[in-house]
């Protein structure tokens, strides 16, 4: 099986256990990373398909209304109501807080708790295949990576690593697309972490009840090399 055949088959069945697929995956780190991307997309896809079945809020669903038979003299009042409604909706829309980077990071990490269970260090090829598309490298031996995958995050594919530290595993998201002005702390749902500016974009580091985060952040920051 060559790379093209592999990608055709994986594109239709990302979780395929076909012998030829498994064999090619073991031999080609780039195709293995591609399969991991598709598997990550399928996880997101499965969650996306499971829509909430809570009854829609009243007024949330807009059905085509029957032709109005309201007398003309009431049009003015209707128009005034409409303008007020639009103004209220616009005010709510503008003032509605966008999801913060911290909440996005926690949301992403909490959906992949199994990533922290990986214990075997990954080889340079496997890590490189995940980092290379984003123009990022890790310095040899600077950190021990036990999980590496490309994930959807804020409409971008980003490297998602799990790095083993003396204080336990931490998740590292390398966010080349996201600039931050200064270091910010993440705290919520038992997760603690930091987001720090990087030469290109930012780095999010999150652990569960992990101590010594500043030292870990420094270690990770110094381990990552960016193509600027």
């Amino acid at each position: 099986m060559n790379c093209l055949d592999f990608r055709r088959q994986i594109g239709a069945e990302p979780a395929s256990h076909d012998v030829a697929v498994v064999q090619h995956r073991a031999e080609c780190a780039t195709c293995a990373a591609y399969q991991d991307e598709l598997l990550a997309m399928d996880v997101l896809l499965a969650r996306a398909m499971r829509i909430s079945l809570r009854p829609p809020e009243s007024g949330a669903k807009t059905r085509p209304a029957p032709r109005s038979t309201v007398p003309p003299r009431r049009w003015l009042a209707l128009a005034a109501s409409l303008v007020i409604g639009i103004l209220v909706a616009a005010t709510l829309w503008v003032s509605y807080p966008a999801p913060t980077l911290a909440s996005e990071v926690i949301g992403h990490v909490s959906h992949e708790p199994g990533a922290w269970n990986a214990r075997d260090p990954l080889g340079a090829d496997a890590i490189g295949a995940v980092l290379a598309p984003s123009g990022i490298r890790l310095r040899d031996g600077a950190v021990e990576v036990t999980f590496a995958k490309r994930c959807f995050f804020e409409r971008h594919w980003v490297p998602h690593l799990v790095v083993q530290t003396v204080n336990g595993p931490v998740t590292v998201l390398l966010l080349a697309h996201r600039q931050v002005e200064s270091l910010a702390h993440i705290d919520g749902q038992d997760f603690t972490g930091v987001v720090l500016p990087a030469p290109r974009g930012s780095i999010a580091i999150v652990g569960r009840n992990v101590s010594g985060l500043d030292d870990i952040a420094r270690q990770v920051f110094e381990a990552v090399e960016w193509d600027v």
Binding site: A12, D42, L45, M49, I51, G107, R155, H156
Partner: protein, 205 residues
Amino acid sequence: MLPAPARYRFAVFERALAGPEINPPKARSLYMNSDDRGTDRQRRFGALCEALRPDLIRFAFWLARDRALAEDVVQEALLRAWKSFDALTDEAKAKQWMLTIVRREHARTWERKRLETVNLDALVQAEAPVLASDDDAALAEMREALFRLDDDYREPLVLQVMMGYTTNEIAAHLGLTQGAVLTRLFRARHKLRTAMAVDGTENEA
């Protein structure tokens, strides 16, 4: 007020779902009389409905791309399923059986209502509350991308990812060859990847 035939159909359906509350379950017996058999039938059907209804509605939603229409389709499909429940000999295949009924009911509804071609942007806007996700922007993005996929690509993908169908089962369900199903699944994922990736150059291998 519903017309008389519709009232009758809803009464039948209500009774079918309500089974155990209306008729307390009796001890099973080899000498079960017709009332007992009826009660047992209602109980089994009620249990199946309770277990399968959420996934049936989700499936219907991704077919119809309309939450209210999905509820209607599933309601009608369950009525039909109740009427032909005796034809289901293996309850392990109930999910597949009901999905087929939902799919046919959706096609019937589509034909009956002669639904007009709709503006996709307007459709997305109308279903925004269903597609939204409070805490995960990627989830909402994916829902919209899936929502905008052509029916030919969306349905096999839903059957595979949400319902856990194999490509063989999808082929049988949709009346296609397995090769056609594989092609549709490949293209569906390719379209989703393209839709989701803002800077697609880094993702295309």
